[in-house]
């Protein structure tokens, strides 16, 4: 476990290009012209951001739907 997210479901991922374990970083999420900061695991060298399926079909989907109904 890298433990970067503190989430036991996060797989033991490294960046394939940089061979670095992922770290939690503040990244920018945007949808329908709205942007907001969120903490997500990503490669510390190249900045490739990882989104787990749990996140995509859970919290992220909720936010997307809320923005669509605004």
């Amino acid at each position: 476990m890298t433990g970067v997210s503190g989430d036991p479901n996060t797989p033991d991922l490294v960046c394939g290009s940089c061979d670095k374990p992922l770290e939690m970083r503040k990244v920018e999420a945007s949808y329908l012209g709205q942007t907001f900061p969120v903490d997500l695991p990503c490669c510390p060298s190249c900045g490739f951001v990882y989104v787990s399926e749990e996140l995509a079909s859970g919290r992220m989907l909720k936010v997307e739907q809320a923005l669509e109904d605004k």
């Binding site: 797989p11 033991d12 991922l13 490294v14 960046c15 394939g16 290009s17 992922l22 970083r25 503040k26 990244v27 920018e28 999420a29 945007s30 949808y31 329908l32 969120v38 997500l40 990503c42 190249c46 900045g47 490739f48 951001v49 990882y50 989104v51 399926e53 995509a56 079909s57 992220m60 989907l61 936010v63 997307e64 739907q65 809320a66 669509e68 109904d69 605004k70």
Partner: protein, 776 residues
């Protein structure tokens, strides 16, 4: 949305009209609500409903003439509900649970009521509840003396009178007996008027010459009353309408209504409000609530074991359960969408309009609006022909026009439509060897996606049997754009079809799909168009197709877009019968239900989409016979054995009813392949088979999951190919799996995969619309 149009739609739905019983009750007692509660054993709740409108529950339960029973719709199925007996059982059991407290007025007005009959005491009750100070003057020794004298105590026990009177006095009404109010002298009307803010004369029928000095009388010597407001010639004095000398047959419940009508006027007068403004007509009876009583089996009324004592608790519960209760809801019962949202059109129309009118804030009903199948069944069943589909489509167009349509609801379907219309798929040709088309075959986008070989076979058959050249046009009729409220895109699709039609010498169009037929007929009525099925019924089936025994009967499912296409319905049935099928009806064509594709409901709301299919599937154990590719494939997807009519004519397998749903990725492949094969084989054009970017290995469960998430295998292949080129992947050190993502249209598609000798094994895929990136 246009407010007037919305009001007109709302007005069509009569579900909120009162049931017959309440409409006939002079007090509008909610017998339906009471019966529902009593049937559930909630007698206290029923009593609360009853005592909210009935001032003297014990008395009225015993002596009301219950006009409600005379009109109860249960009479058409076993006998009217015995509402009177239910009310008595209710009083018997739950009278002590009545809780009432009068409002507290800051400056109580003083009111004198002359006459302690039912009308006077009802007014006293209503006015004391409003917080006024009420004094009642009665000539006799006791209030309600007439009830005691005229009605046998076996009908109206004195204890009932005492209980209701006790409750009235405990609310603070001051009843003074042996007080005769006269024209002059010690207890003169003039003094009452001078000493009170308002006076009500509730002295019962008959002349009132003693008051002639004070009030204007009619020629018959009765107090001259305004029939609607019960006002007299003096502003602070009102009368009960029995003075006016209309129908003087005594009615307990009408006396109560008179007292109530007078109380409304007095209260309005004391508050300085208009006596007439928006006053409900308390004499109206009858209702336009539609009730399909034929739906209910006849059940006779419950007879009490002890007729003198009346219903016991259990008997009252069973009698109450005979109340239907009266509702229309004809459309709701038949529609998976309205059922899912636990609503009915009148309420839904209002909700949709409110959603449309929101300036700032959440549009909570967007998904609800996009979950209607636009199937037209509601209109078919509604006594007033309300078409919810028209409402939802209008709302969708408004959402699109104002930029409020959620992108995610229809994106996938519109992308699929764009693909069908793209140069990768769409093409049009005259019949090989012809430079003219008398006929243009338009199979639509879904049949070629589901049964491409059969489409080719039927095209060859048409070419052999129709003179003048049969052209072929693979394209989309634009229905998805229409259903999603995209007017411009829809028009673009229609214009394209028209241009081709002009270009090809205005041939007669033949469509295989009911939706295409309906679209062209509705939006381009000048184009001659016919259904493939009526055409085949006319020209005959291929020679090699002989009647064969289809195993078992077939239950026929008409697509909702063929609801009114009677010639098509008949042609389909005759072809199937000719082929030896034993065709059984489900609901019949006019009442057919949607398969979940209509209105794009499965894309905006898969749960409702599946509910449509699943409901339909449950109607029969027979294999289903459909003649829309989406209907057939949706049945197959949900595990129902189903055939398309074209499978009967050109069987492609031993057991075509077991043909699986090709799924969205399969549909795309089928269209691409059909185009290549036709152009190569029929028109001799050179076509190269596309080389897939990477070879994929996908287990069935993963494939189904990908379908459910509306992701395409082609897109997944592209994402993997790109990752292999760039090395932009995450690697799971435990499993060795690679994970990558790529933006496909408006979706970031993630794939977890594993390179093997057989190809890339896809373990899972998922997507999101939001974009995430490290801030530069």
């Amino acid at each position: 949305m246009d407010g007037d149009q919305v009001k007109a739609w709302e007005a069509l739905c009569i579900e909120e009209q009162p049931p017959a019983c309440a409409a006939a009750c002079p007090l509008r007692v909610d017998a339906r609500g009471m019966a529902e509660k009593m049937a559930a054993g909630d007698f206290n709740g029923a009593m609360a409903l009853y005592s909210r409108v009935v001032p003297f529950p014990a008395i009225i339960a015993h002596i009301c003439e219950h006009p409600c029973e005379a009109v109860c719709r249960r009479a058409e199925a076993g006998g009217a509900v015995r509402i009177g007996a239910l009310e008595r059982a209710l009083v018997e059991e739950a009278y002590p649970t009545i809780r009432r407290s009068a409002q507290r007025a800051r400056k109580p007005k003083t009111i004198a009521i002359v006459g302690a009959g039912l009308a006077g005491l009802t007014a006293a009750f209503d006015l004391v509840m409003k917080g006024h100070a009420v004094t009642v003057f009665e000539t006799e020794a006791r209030p309600l003396e007439r009830l005691r004298l005229d009605i046998d105590s076996s009908v109206l026990p004195p204890s009932a009178i005492d209980a209701d009177l006790g409750a009235l006095t405990s609310l603070g009404v001051d009843i003074r007996c042996r007080q005769r109010v006269t024209g002059g002298g010690s207890q003169a009307l003039g003094d009452l008027i001078a000493g009170h803010d308002a006076v009500l004369l509730a002295t019962g029928p008959g002349p009132a010459v003693q008051f002639s000095e004070t009030l204007r009388l009619t020629a018959a010597g009765r107090i001259d009353l305004d029939p609607l407001t019960l006002a007299t010639s003096l502003p602070t004095v009102f009368g009960s309408s029995l003075h006016s000398g209309g129908d003087e047959t005594y009615s307990a419940i009408l006396s109560v209504r008179d007292g109530r009508r007078a109380a409304v006027s007095l209260d309005r007068f004391l508050q300085g409000a208009s006596l007439t403004a928006s006053r409900a007509d308390d004499t109206a009876t009858g209702t336009c609530l539609y009730v399909n009583t034929a739906r209910h089996a006849a059940v006779p009324p419950v007879e009490p074991a002890d007729p003198v004592a009346g219903y016991c608790h259990a008997e009252a519960m069973s009698e109450a359960a005979r109340c239907f209760p009266c509702h229309c809801l004809e459309c709701v019962k038949a529609c998976a969408y309205l059922t899912h949202y636990k609503t009915y059109p009148k309420r839904a129309v209002r909700e949709i309009y409110n959603n449309d009118s929101i300036i700032m804030g959440n549009r909570k009903s967007n998904r609800m609006i996009d979950s209607c199948a636009l199937c037209g069944l509601c209109q078919e069943l509604c006594p007033n022909d309300l078409a919810m589909g028209d409402v939802c489509l209008d709302a969708r167009q408004s959402m699109v026009d104002h930029g409020h349509m959620p992108a995610s609801h229809h994106d996938f379907a519109l992308r699929d439509m764009a693909f069908s219309r793209s140069d990768d798929v769409a093409f049009v040709r005259h019949q090989p060897g012809h430079d003219h088309s008398a006929v243009l075959f338009f199979p639509g986008c879904q049949l070629p996606a589901s049964a491409p070989r059969q489409v080719e076979a039927v095209y060859r058959h048409l070419c052999d049997h129709l003179p003048g050249g049969v052209g072929f046009m693979l394209d989309c009729c634009g229905a998805p754009a229409h259903w999603s409220g995209r007017k411009a895109l829809h028009q673009d699709a229609l214009d394209h079809i028209r241009a081709i039609w002009e270009d090809h010498g205005r041939p007669r169009l033949i469509t295989a799909c009911s939706t295409c037929l309906k679209q062209i007929g509705e939006f381009m009525p000048d184009l001659p168009v016919a259904s493939l099925w009526t055409e085949l019924a006319a020209i005959g089936l291929p020679d090699h197709v002989a009647a064969r025994s289809v195993a078992g009967p077939l239950a026929i499912h008409d697509p909702c877009t063929s609801r009114h296409a009677h010639d098509v319905q008949a042609a389909v049935r005759s072809i199937a019968t000719l082929l030896g099928a034993d065709v059984r009806e489900l609901t019949g064509a006019e009442k057919t239900t949607c398969c979940g594709y209509g209105g794009l409901v499965s894309f905006a709301n898969p749960e409702v989409g599946n509910a449509f299919v699943d409901r339909r599937i449950e109607e029969s154990d027979d294999d289903y016979l459909a003649y829309c590719a989406m209907c057939r494939d949706n049945f197959a997807r949900r595990g129902k054995r189903a055939l398309h009519l074209i499978d009967l004519i050109f069987p492609d397998a031993d057991d075509p009813a077991a043909r699986p749903d090709p799924g969205f990725s399969g549909r795309r492949d089928n269209r691409l392949r059909l185009r290549r094969r036709l152009l190569r084989d029929l028109w001799g054009e050179s076509m190269s088979d596309p080389v897939p970017p990477v070879a994929l290995v996908i287990a069935d469960a993963v494939r189904a999951d990908i379908e459910r998430k509306l992701l395409l295998v082609d897109d997944i292949a592209e994402v993997i190919a790109e990752a292999q080129r760039t090395g932009r992947v995450f690697k799971d050190r435990t499993s060795g799996h690679l994970t990558t993502s790529g933006r496909v249209g408006t979706i970031t598609t993630w794939v977890e995969y594993e390179p093997t000798d057989a190809g890339f094994v896809v373990h899972r895929a998922y997507g999101h619309r939001m974009q995430v990136e490290v801030k530069p």
